[in-house]
Assembly symmetry: none
Homo-oligomer: 412 residues x 2
C-alpha cells in the first residue's frame, strides 16, 4: 500500500513551524509497511488544497491530511473535501455532544463561531478525537481513501493511533522489515567502501543517515504477506554481513544513542564518569546528562573555560600551559588527572580546543581539538581537526569524546 501525506497551513510554508506531524505519521506508516511516496505541504486555500489532494491520489491510494480543521475562519479543509468527494454536510449529534461536554468542563460558552464544527461531511466516516474538538474524517472512493485530521499534534496522534492504523492494518498486503545500524568515528564514504562490495549480493535496500561524527545505516526489505520468515532471514544475513565488516565501529541499533550506549557501558562495569571541558563549554556534560538515569554513573564536570579554572580547580600546571598552550596533549592529560582527583570518579574525559571563529593560528587552526580519556592507570589522547564552524566544532568534539570514551571502556 502506498500513502501520501498532505499538510495544510500557511504556517508551514512561511517557515513558522517545523512540521513534525508528517515525520511522525511517516514513521508510523513505515513501521506497518506502508510506503509513503510523497509529502506535500499546501496553503490554506481552496485551490491549493484541491491540488494537494489530486497530486496525493496520483501517487498513492491513501492520503493522510493534517491541518485546516478547527474553529477559526481560515480553516477550510472540510468545505473543500465536501466539494471534492461530493455529498453535503450534516449535523453530527455525536460531535455536538462531545464538544459541548468538553467546552462545559473548561467553562467555555458555545458561540456561533463554534457551530460549524458540529456539521460533518455526509460521506465521511467519523474517527473519534478524545483530545480535542475536531474529529478525523475518513473518506473513501473506490480503492482510494483520504483521512483528514486536525493539525494539533496530540490530537492527530490520537486519531492516527486509534482510528487510522487499525483501519489500514486490515488492508496492508505487504511486509516491511528494517534494521538501523549505528556507527561512530567513521565517515560515510569509508563506510560505503567497506560495506557496498559485501552488500551487493544481498537483496536489501540500504540508506545512509550521517550526522556529526556518526553514521546510521538502514537496511530494509519488503515483500508480500506470508513471506515474513524469508524476509527476516534475508535481513538478518545482510545485517550479519555488515556487522562482520564494520566490527567495533558499530555501537548499537535502531533507537540506541551513543550517550545511552556509553552510559550502559559505565553501568555494566560499575564505573563513574567525570569530565573537564574547555572549548565544548558544557556540551559533553549536557549530552551525557540528557540520558534519564545518568545520575547513577555521572559525577559531574568542571567547565574550565578560563585558564585560571584549569589551574586552580583542575591543577593543570602553569608551566604546562605556558610551554604547550591550553590546546595540547599535555594540558588535556593533566585535565584528566585533575578531574579524576577532584570529582572522585573512576574514568574522566577532557576536551580542549579552538572552536572559533577566532583564536586559531598557523600551528593550531580553528577546529583543532585535543581530547583525552583515562583512569588512574592509563590515559590516552587524540588530536582532531574539525571545521571552521563554532557550533559544529562543539558538536563534533562532544560526539568524538563519547566515541573515544566508548573505545576506552570497550577495551577494558
Amino acid at each position: 500500500m502506498k500513502a501520501a501525506i498532505v499538510t495544510v497551513g500557511d504556517e508551514i510554508l512561511i517557515g513558522q513551524i517545523v512540521d513534525t506531524n508528517s515525520t511522525w505519521i511517516a514513521s508510523q506508516l513505515s513501521q506497518i509497511g506502508v510506503e509513503v511516496t510523497t509529502k506535500i505541504s499546501v496553503a490554506d486555500d481552496r485551490e491549493s488544497i484541491l491540488k494537494g489532494v489530486r497530486r496525493g491520489f496520483e501517487d498513492a491510494d491513501l492520503i493522510l491530511m493534517t491541518g485546516g480543521l478547527g474553529p477559526t475562519k481560515d480553516d477550510i479543509t472540510k468545505t473543500v473535501l465536501v466539494e471534492y468527494f461530493g455529498g453535503g454536510m450534516q449535523f453530527s449529534q455525536d460531535t455536538f455532544e462531545r464538544v459541548t461536554e468538553m467546552f462545559t468542563k473548561r467553562g467555555i460558552t458555545i458561540t456561533d463561531a463554534h457551530k460549524a464544527q458540529f456539521y460533518m461531511p455526509e460521506r465521511a466516516e467519523i474517527l473519534e478525537n478524545r483530545m480535542g474538538t475536531a474529529p478525523g474524517m475518513w473518506f473513501r472512493e473506490g480503492q482510494k481513501a483520504l483521512c483528514a485530521m486536525p493539525g494539533v499534534p496530540h490530537e492527530m496522534k490520537y486519531i492516527v493511533s486509534t482510528g487510522v492504523i487499525p483501519k489500514i492494518q486490515g488492508e496492508v498486503q505487504t511486509v516491511f522489515l528494517q534494521k538501523t545500524i549505528r556507527t561512530s568515528g567513521v565517515g560515510e564514504s569509508m563506510i560505503a567502501e567497506m560495506i557496498e562490495p559485501v552488500l551487493k549480493d544481498h537483496p536489501v535496500k540500504l540508506a545512509y543517515l550521517p550526522s556529526q561524527a556518526q553514521v546510521r545505516l538502514r537496511l530494509s526489505v519488503a515483500g508480500e504477506v506470508g513471506s515474513e520468515q524469508i524476509l527476516t532471514g534475508v535481513l538478518e544475513k545482510a545485517v550479519d554481513a555488515t556487522l562482520a565488516v564494520l566490527g567495533k565501529r558499530v555501537y548499537g541499533f535502531d533507537e540506541d544513542s551513543l550517550e545511552e550506549h556509553v552510559g550502559g557501558l559505565l553501568k555494566d562495569k560499575g564505573l563513574s564518569l567525570g569530565a573537564a571541558e574547555s572549548c565544548t563549554g558544557g556540551y559533553l556534560s549536557h549530552m551525557v546528562t540528557s540520558v534519564p538515569g545518568a545520575s547513577s554513573y555521572f559525577k559531574g564536570s568542571v567547565v574550565s573555560y578560563d585558564n585560571s579554572v584549569k589551574e586552580n580547580l583542575l591543577g593543570v600546571k602553569a608551566k604546562t600551559l605556558q610551554a604547550h598552550g591550553a590546546v595540547s596533549q599535555e594540558t588535556v592529560e593533566e585535565m584528566v588527572s585533575g578531574a579524576l582527583r577532584i570529582l572522585e570518579c573512576d574514568v574522566a574525559i577532557a576536551i580542549s580546543g579552538i572552536c572559533g571563529p577566532t583564536g586559531g593560528s598557523e600551528e593550531k587552526p580553528v577546529g583543532t581539538v585535543w581530547i583525552a580519556v583515562g583512569n588512574k592507570d592509563y590515559v590516552e589522547s587524540k588530536r582532531f581537526l574539525f571545521s571552521k564552524n563554532r557550533i559544529l566544532n562543539i558538536q563534533y568534539a562532544g560526539v568524538s569524546a563519547l566515541h573515544l570514551l566508548r573505545k576506552f571502556l570497550s577495551a577494558r
Copy 2:
C-alpha cells in the same frame, strides 16, 4: 516571486528525520518577501525527483531543492537534473581543488567513491559551499530557476545565505520589511493580551514565534517597490507602540539571542560569570559558550551532578542537603556562594531541580527547579515548575536562568 521547496530523500518519507531544512529555507524566503507556494518531499529515485521538479515548476518560478547530493550511490539528484535540464557533466577543477584540500587537511585519502563529486552539470552555475564537499547548482531555463543543494543543514544554509538569497534579492519586485521583537520571561497569551489592543490600529502583520520561556514577535509590512519610505514609517510606529507596552520584557531584536544579550551586558559592565549546574547538567554553560567571544566574560562552571561534588567542590553544607534537599532555595544559594569563590567570578548562577522522568515527589514533583543568581553582596532565587518532559525541563531551566541573570544584571 513564488518559490517551491523540494526535498529529496527516503529518510524524510519514512519519518526517520524531521525536515528542518525546508522550514529554515521557507523562513529565509519569507523574510525577503518570496512566497513559498508548496513544499514537496520525494524519494531518492529518478521518477520521483523528476515529478518533484515538474510539480514545483507548475506552482512556482523558483525551486529550492535539498538532499541527494553526496558521495554515496543513493545520491542521484545530480544525474536526474542533467537529464531534466539537458547538457552533460564536466570536470570541475574548482570543486576538485577545494575538496582535495579539505580532505588533505583532515587526513583523508581521495578514493574512487569521491570522484563523481568532481563532475558538475555543464548547464549549472556553481554556488560555493565552504562547509562541505558538494556545492550548490543553479540551473536556469527562461524565467524559471532551480537551485540544488546538499541536505546537510549547515552546508545548505551556507549556500542559501551566500549564494541563493543575493541572487533572488536582485529579482524580487515587492518590498517586504519586518522587525522581530524578542522577549523573555512572559508567555504568549499574556503578550497577546498586552499588545493586540494597541496593534489593531497599525496596518502591520503580526506573528508569534514562541519557544521555551521566550516569545518572538514578528511585525511585517509589504508593498510595491517605491513605497519603502512609507512602509518603513508604518513599521517603525508599530514597533514603537509594541515596545512602549512591553517595556523591559523585550531584550532584543531580529537575530539577537538571549545568550548574546546577557554576554553583552556582562561585557559592558566588565563583570565575569560563573555557573554551578545540577539538573541542567552543563546545558546553561553550553548556551553561554555557544556565543563567540564568551571567553572574555565566562570563567567556567561546576556541573555538580552528584551531591558529593556539591559538597566537596562548591562547599554546599552536608546539613543543608540533609535538611532541605538538593532541590531547595538553601542549596542553590550555597551553590552560588561556592561558584563565586572557586571560579573567582563576579556573578554566579546556580540551578538545581528534578528534570525527570523519575525523582519527583508530592512536595517536589518532576519539573521543580530552583535557580539562584548573585554576587558577593546579594543573591536572589526563584522556584519554577516546568513540565513532565526531561529535555524540555533542561531547556526551560537554561533559558529561565539566563532570563533571571538578565534581570539581575539590568537592575545593577
